[in-house]
Subunit: 148 residues, 2 copies
Amino acid sequence: MGCDVMNPTFGFVTNQLKKHNIRLSNRRLKVLEYLCNNQNHPTVDQIYVNLHKDVPTLSKTTIYNTLHTLVEVGLVRVINIEDNETRYDILTEDHGHFKCDSCGKIFNFNVDLDSFTTYELSGFRIMDRNLYFKGICQRCLLNINKNY
Amino acid sequence: MGCDVMNPTFGFVTNQLKKHNIRLSNRRLKVLEYLCNNQNHPTVDQIYVNLHKDVPTLSKTTIYNTLHTLVEVGLVRVINIEDNETRYDILTEDHGHFKCDSCGKIFNFNVDLDSFTTYELSGFRIMDRNLYFKGICQRCLLNINKNY
DNA sequence: ATAAATAATTGTAATGATTACAATTATATT
DNA sequence: AATATAATTGTAATCATTACAATTATTTAT
Ligand SMILES: [Mn+2]
Ligand SMILES: [Mn+2]
Ligand SMILES: [Zn+2]
Ligand SMILES: [Zn+2]
């Protein structure tokens, strides 16, 4: 069933869509549901493979279309950490990302970027702020140490 | 001739390469020179198109190879702002990026990311830190205002 | 309710960046 | 000079993403 973690709650989402005259079709709902239930910054392919089980007629193109639409409205955020995989995040509030080079997992962490400012960008209009780190996560570090 | 802006000076670069037993071939030198002289975070294609004028036998593969090698040694940094274009930066010191959605230019700005830390990542080994903003640059904002 | 207009979805084919890999050339070692 | 190692190239393959036209669903007007 629906979203366990109702971060941008269903009401909010539907509101936003209505506001932008975007229909909440069945397919779009599926994608949104998936993003809510799997907040691990999935790729298009991951979304596709998973939803395809339930809805075999769902096409990858539709996922691309849906995501583009949702990104445009600001309900989904694009994450470009690796140059060979685009990921999507339903959490649109300000937060940073840490990607573990060992297990591949992407972690969220809190950070207040909105308040960040520098004289070098005075006169610039900042619309979008992104912060990401890379390295080895705690769990992987522990595992590595165990094996020696 | 060589690099006007010798940020990672030639000496430093050659040293680093020697240290890692990487030969400074003619092609690699060309790529390094280009990166030094054009610190606008070029794409592989931009590098290729430009160098190809002088060295028609230079292949795109070599540029990829060279960049990968340089990145591995830490002399070049990958920039993933857009999901459809990988850019490369010869400036490896800690700094942030601002990409103008209007003119496409990528600006540098100073920021101390090394000192940044959060309890949420305690126990994590952070190897790489990236901060980038998107929006409209000052010049483009001025131009937009002029036209109204 | 029916017909016309609009939006959503799909599939196919195209694009374009990146990589795999084998062949060739250059450099270093013996 | 002969051999081993590294660099470069070209071709073809891969893979994510997009373009676009055809189909289906939904809304709106009649
Ligand atoms: Mn996130
Ligand atoms: Mn830079
Ligand atoms: Zn890990
Ligand atoms: Zn601009």
